[in-house]
Symmetry: C2
């Protein structure tokens, strides 16, 4: 099939002179150039170019008890160019490094999928693709992140966004002053990149952050203007909060000293979400110092609530075998294993034999959760840590 | 297991006097009271109370060629109280009607799951639950919607939210003035309820709406400030846009006369999303007049783009058997069947044998989609309708 002459499609996005780039970007470009110079240098001197990639495995992850976060260890894997097993990955790593350099020089960001497509093409003169699926591409980007010691945001790559925010704070995002007190029923969408270079905090009256699991619960709290009555910031992360949401919570906690108080489901998934917010996750252990919030609090839903709040049997959802297995796994996490209140909490969940969702509280009254449950627990400081 | 004495949990959410409620709410309460009066009246006169529920099936859906939307027909099903097959559903319908009356009187809204939990309890003196799963509950709410002729939003029920908005417009949401020109990288979260009583339009310079499929593509357009350069509003609906997003697009189209221009994937799913935006869907046919946008335009991605834009083979994703089946089904929809350009478009997709995502355009250049592809197509009015 003959190709028609194509319209002119030359790139109109010029590179910015390196002197005009932010300091952080200059530093990242330095790391990328260092990587390619190492390859050239070793090649010229007849040595095999090798990249050393820190291992993101469970065995190379350890819990730092003092800091209260999960950390990545020192183990590394070699990725030599002249090895049939790793040559393709080596090429992929260099391709992505090149895309990232372009992104930084143009002052632009891209999604994971966008970077994948930038690099995905047929290798000239062959039928081989540089990449076949995004599953090959995402880990290579993480490799670059850990081996360069640069955050994904520093590599100008963003993730899907989930989560909204409303409350007594002003946020400055790319120069736009966002008054989170006047966001109507929709709220402000929490972006993927919330580093200080992109996003700063303005005036903040709020005394804490209430983080809820789901958008529907968030809507209940927003409609009842909980954040106004209790002078706080209200966020949700659409289930397991994405990096942007976690990082924003951590910055609110560290920079503005706001306690982060979570209202999640009474089930192993809710406990796991809390665990990730608090201590970090294995796959992102190299990011824990930037994402984890060791003093985050778990206010509810608690296993005792069925009794204490006099709920009807209608709220019970029977635990599945997988729930029981997950609950036991989570109970064995080192930070939970040494924590007596959490051991009691998980034991009570298992004893109950059922789980409960935050929305179960609506059974009592549409605003029971916002007007009684959360205010009473806040007042009594009745939460798990 | 003995219960501890529970803390006082009486509802603090008082009903508002009926005279203070908005006219629309008074009307909806009138409908709900009418329903229960019918039940009482028939019961007192020894007749079997019956609710008539319009059918939401394919056979009761027809395409209104003149209006260009899908519509629900007149067929109804009876739901008598004194029938073993329908008695439970009858009870469920009345329970939900009662919850909705409470919501309206309290001036509150709830999620589908919230309404489910409000009604879910053990029937006194039995081990029977009023509802077992939410799958039973949601259709009952739709039944009420169609049989009362009241929109879900009029019943004070909201859906999950997806989708963000940024651009040259001011929106007033529950009294908050939202300047969509200053939303940073996050954008404003499109709420679930966007009826004129909750949400009004302020100043709007924008000349059209560019609606893209995914948040990651939306981020690309927002970062390149496409909406500023091209004086428009930029939205996404996180895949298949939820009701709130569709309704907002329709209001922007009908009230502000803004063309709605869609940038979706070149695959049957992208075509289906467009079809729903334009003509409505079978399951929500009773809502089409409020949701469908018959003059919405499909700008891309087009099957011809692989050639016209000189893309590399890397963008090709082979059609699956299911894709081919769906493409043929969509080609047979009455509004596409009579539309020659669309017949050609789907035939070309099938001939290509591959699909392409919007993000494939990033292969050429990170901002090719925002700086060349969409501007050129807009200028040439090169789109499908």
């Amino acid at each position: 099939m003959a190709r028609k002459p194509a319209p002119k499609t030359a790139s109109t996005t010029a590179k910015k002179p390196i002197g005009t780039l932010p300091e952080r970007d200059v530093k990242t470009i330095g790391k990328l150039v260092g990587l390619s110079e190492m390859v050239v240098k070793r090649g010229m001197s007849g040595k095999d170019p090798v990249i050393h990639i820190p291992l993101r495995t469970k065995s190379n992850t350890s819990w730092n008890r003092k800091k209260g976060i999960l950390e990545m260890g020192d183990a590394k894997a070699d990725r030599p160019l002249f090895d049939l097993k790793t040559a393709k990955q080596f090429m992929q790593t260099m391709l992505h490094a090149s895309t990232i350099k372009d992104l930084i020089e143009q002052g632009k960001t891209s999604s994971l999928r966008g970077v994948f497509y930038r690099a995905k093409h047929t290798v000239a003169g062959t039928k081989e693709n540089t990449f076949d699926t995004q599953d090959e591409s995402d880990p290579i980007l993480e490799d670059l992140e850990v081996s360069l010691g640069a955050l994904r945001e520093e590599l100008h790559i963003f993730a899907s966004t989930r989560g909204n925010l409303v409350g007594n704070i002003t946020i400055i995002d790319k120069g736009d002053e966002i008054n989170a007190r006047r966001m109507g029923s929709g709220g402000w969408g929490i972006p993927s990149i919330v580093e200080p270079s992109a996003l700063q905090f303005g005036k903040c009256e709020a005394k804490f952050v209430l983080h809820v699991e789901k958008d529907t619960v968030w809507q209940r709290f927003n409609e009842d203007r909980f954040w106004e009555k209790h002078n706080c910031i209200l966020t949700h992360g659409g289930g397991q909060p994405p990096r942007g949401c976690r990082r924003l919570l951590q910055r609110l906690n560290q920079e503005l000293k706001l306690p982060i108080i979570c209202v999640l489901d009474n089930d192993p998934w809710g406990h796991y979400i809390y665990s990730v917010i608090k201590q970090g996750s294995i796959s992102l252990a190299f990011e824990s110092s930037r994402l984890a919030i060791p003093d985050a609090k778990f206010l509810g839903i608690r296993a005792k609530d069925y009794e204490e709040c006099e709920l009807d049997d209608g709220v019970k959802i029977t635990l599945t075998d997988n729930d029981i297995k997950r609950a036991n796994e989570i109970a064995a996490y080192p930070w939970f294993a040494e924590n007596r209140p959490w051991q009691k909490e998980i034991a009570q969940l298992l004893k109950n034999g059922f789980k409960m969702e935050v929305e179960a509280m609506l059974q009592k009254d549409i605003s029971y959760i916002t007007e009684e449950y959360v205010p009473q627990r806040l007042k009594a400081k009745d939460w798990l840590e």
